[in-house]
């Protein structure tokens, strides 16, 4: 008898209405996949999906999926490795391989091919290329992280103002974002740095300022989608203030896409820094920057081809690591990318 009672309580389970027109596109399983899609390609009732997903949280679930993505994990490991190597460089690179800034003006000490003493050779000023590549990671990672932090900070403020208050503010900020996006990325950075003057600091300011529109758009659309949920009305009715609304109710929902965009942007920022330094609009000599090293290596291509190998390889692998991590996070957190 009690069995039967249980069955009654289930009478309103959405899946008995699975084929009614109203429900189309609305039903989502716990992972957010549209149930309609699944049932069409494979006509299994979606019940199992709902039931199996018990108490796991969004983050636990995402970590579980990320762990299974070998490429993303490889990217993560590479990034951690690069960070550890460059942070500990004072301890072992400087004493055993050489100071990245120490020139050696002895005759024949410059432009040496790779050897036991200088495993990646020396550059035109006799500096150890390996040491410069290792220390170059500091510049790249710092620019990447700080520039993206600036983008996220501006983007969050702009996105919050735009999405939360709407109306004229929204129009103004979104038109502003269009203006920024109308600029080709590197060109705007060049214009900005032409005015500010080329320097290490101005590079991440320029890249940081350039990145805000994408973050603002992502954050804005998160806010708009959350705003439509009823619990926001409920919170408002309970007298929650604007700040409280944004931080308690909206932020948690917007975190996932921002993490994905942020991770991918770091890779982009690293490439942009290298490009700007390469063009002479970025980090200035003698600071070891990968882009600058490539710029120095270019006229020496015939005499010392090894000079251009490692800085480029370092950029490629580091950026690739961030791209793979971003891809993995996107899939794990199930973030939909617009472009």
């Amino acid at each position: 008898m009690s069995d039967r009672d249980d069955l009654h309580h289930d009478a309103h389970n959405p899946h008995t209405h699975d084929e009614s027109p109203v429900d189309h596109g609305e039903l989502r399983d716990a992972a957010g996949h549209s149930i309609k899609d699944q049932s069409r390609s494979l006509p299994i009732p979606p019940t199992d999906d709902i039931i199996t997903d018990g108490g796991r949280t969004l983050w636990g679930d995402a970590w579980y999926r990320l762990r299974k993505n070998k490429l993303a994990i490889a990217g993560l490991i590479w990034v951690i490795f690069v960070i550890l190597v460059t942070l500990s460089a004072d301890l072992w690179v400087k004493p055993y391989f050489g100071d990245p800034l120490a020139m050696d003006t002895t005759l024949g000490a410059n432009l040496q091919p790779p050897s036991a003493e200088h495993i990646m050779g020396t550059d035109k000023l006799g500096r150890d290329v390996f040491a410069r590549v290792v220390y170059g990671a500091r510049i790249s990672l710092t620019v990447g992280v700080i520039a993206v932090a600036i983008s996220v900070a501006i983007g969050l403020i702009m996105g919050a103002l735009s999405g939360y208050f709407g109306g004229f503010m929204d129009t103004l900020i979104m038109r502003g974002a269009d203006v920024f996006l109308a600029f080709p990325y590197v060109l705007f950075a060049i214009a900005l740095i032409a005015v500010l003057g080329p320097s290490y600091r101005n590079v991440f300011i320029a890249i940081g300022i350039l990145g805000w529109p994408s973050i603002a758009r992502v954050f804005r659309s998160s806010i708009l989608s959350v705003k439509e949920n009823e619990y926001i009305d409920a919170a408002k009715a309970m007298g929650a203030g604007h700040m409280r609304m944004i931080f308690r109710h909206i932020m948690p929902n917007a975190v996932a896409p921002i993490i994905v965009y942020g991770t991918m942007s770091i890779g982009g920022a690293i490439i942009t820094e290298a490009a700007l330094s390469f063009l002479g609009m970025g980090v200035q000599p003698p600071t070891p920057s990968w882009g600058l090293m490539l710029s120095d290596a270019r006229p020496l291509m015939v005499r010392a081809p090894w000079l251009m190998l490692w800085p480029g390889f370092a950029i490629l692998t580091t950026v690739l690591a961030f791209v793979l991590m971003g891809d993995g996070l996107r899939d794990a957190l199930d973030v939909k990318m617009k472009d």
């Binding site: 027109p21 049932s39 494979l42 006509p43 009732p45």
Partner: protein
């Protein structure tokens, strides 16, 4: 009159990561020329997969049709045909319309062209002839100003008009069988009735046999000659429309009939609506697959698998108790009032 379509022991299984999904598991039926067979069941009961199996539209990568299964069209085995053979039947002798007319038409081609496409393919018509015939077909399915509307794109059509266009497309080559998979589910109630009337009218004119797939018995009440009720990939009741509607044998059919909106009020407390969810097709419940939801289930239902057994002449049921004369329900006319 020879049998148009014979389905023998059809088993369509999907091999998925989670296990083998027995979407269709041993289905038999015959279809005579000009008749209408209704296939009724909840989503996931295997009714759509049955239809797709007849069309040989099961994805080859995951779907497997049993080796002892057979589908005979005019005595010839559809399953034994090569791809070219199957394609010469598809859209020509057996045509199919789908549930969602919004997405079933290609958005980038004119409606007329999409209708004419099968005429060019199967009847060898020239483009211009096909266009002219498409206009006639649109006119036949009740599209006003068919000449102009044929030049429209699908997004310029309303939902009901798109389904009419789908019917026109399906009937273009004057097929022997029209398979309609939930053709009215995505439409408004009034439009539903119009589409059903249109199908009945066209069947009278063209003599096409129809396999009508639906989860809603009310939809087929006025047009079906025979009714097959499916549950968890198996047939659980089969008989003439009159038998199934007025003297249903299986408790599941009782539930389906009871869940229809009706003008007469049934005696309360005797019949129970179907509660719970359709079973997983990977782990089908032991014994009778319906037993967890059946209000009349006894211990024996947990262990013994009921076979489809002929109870009366041409009326069979797969319930262990269907042979029991006391285990009966008389129902009033299920014909639905059009609101």
């Amino acid at each position: 009159m020879s049998t148009l379509l014979e389905v023998r022991n059809l088993k369509t299984h999907f091999h998925t990561r989670d296990g083998v999904v027995k979407a269709v598991d041993g289905v038999n039926f015959n279809l005579e020329p000009g008749k209408t067979l209704a296939v009724v069941g909840e989503s996931g009961s295997g009714k759509s997969v049955t239809a797709l199996s007849i069309m040989r539209l099961i994805p080859k990568t995951t779907g497997v049709i049993g080796t002892d299964s057979d589908i005979l069209f005019k005595g010839e085995s559809v399953l034994g045909m090569d791809d070219a053979g199957v394609r010469s039947i598809r859209g020509n002798r057996i045509a199919m319309i789908f549930q969602d007319p919004m997405t079933s038409l290609n958005p980038v081609y004119r409606v007329g062209r999409q209708i004419g496409e099968s005429l060019i393919l199967h009847k060898g018509l020239k483009k211009k002839e096909a266009d002219e015939r498409a206009v006639e077909l649109l006119d036949m399915v009740g599209i006003p100003h068919a000449g102009e509307r044929a030049k429209d794109y699908p997004h310029q059509f309303s939902g009901g008009m798109r389904q009419r266009a789908m019917i026109a497309m399906a009937l273009a080559c004057d097929p022997d069988i029209l398979i309609a998979d939930e053709p009215t589910t995505a439409l408004d109630v009034t439009i539903q009735a119009q589409i059903l009337e249109l199908m009945i009218e066209l069947q009278e004119r063209t003599g096409t046999a129809i396999i009508m797939i639906t989860h809603d018995l009310g939809v087929v009440a006025d047009m079906a000659n025979e009714v097959m009720v499916m549950y968890a990939g198996k047939q659980i009741e089969y008989g003439t429309a009159e038998d199934v509607f007025y003297r249903p044998l299986h408790p599941y059919t009782w539930g389906l009939l009871e869940s229809l909106p009706r003008h007469d009020v049934s005696e309360k407390g005797i019949l129970l609506p179907i509660t719970g969810q359709p079973p997983s097709l990977i782990n089908v419940p032991s014994g009778c697959a319906f037993h967890p939801r059946c209000p009349y289930a006894k211990d024996v239902c947990h262990t013994q698998v009921p076979q489809l057994t002929s109870i009366e002449d041409g009326h069979s049921s797969a319930c262990l108790f269907s042979g029991d004369p006391g285990f009966r329900r008389e129902t009033a006319s299920p014909s639905r009032e059009v609101v």
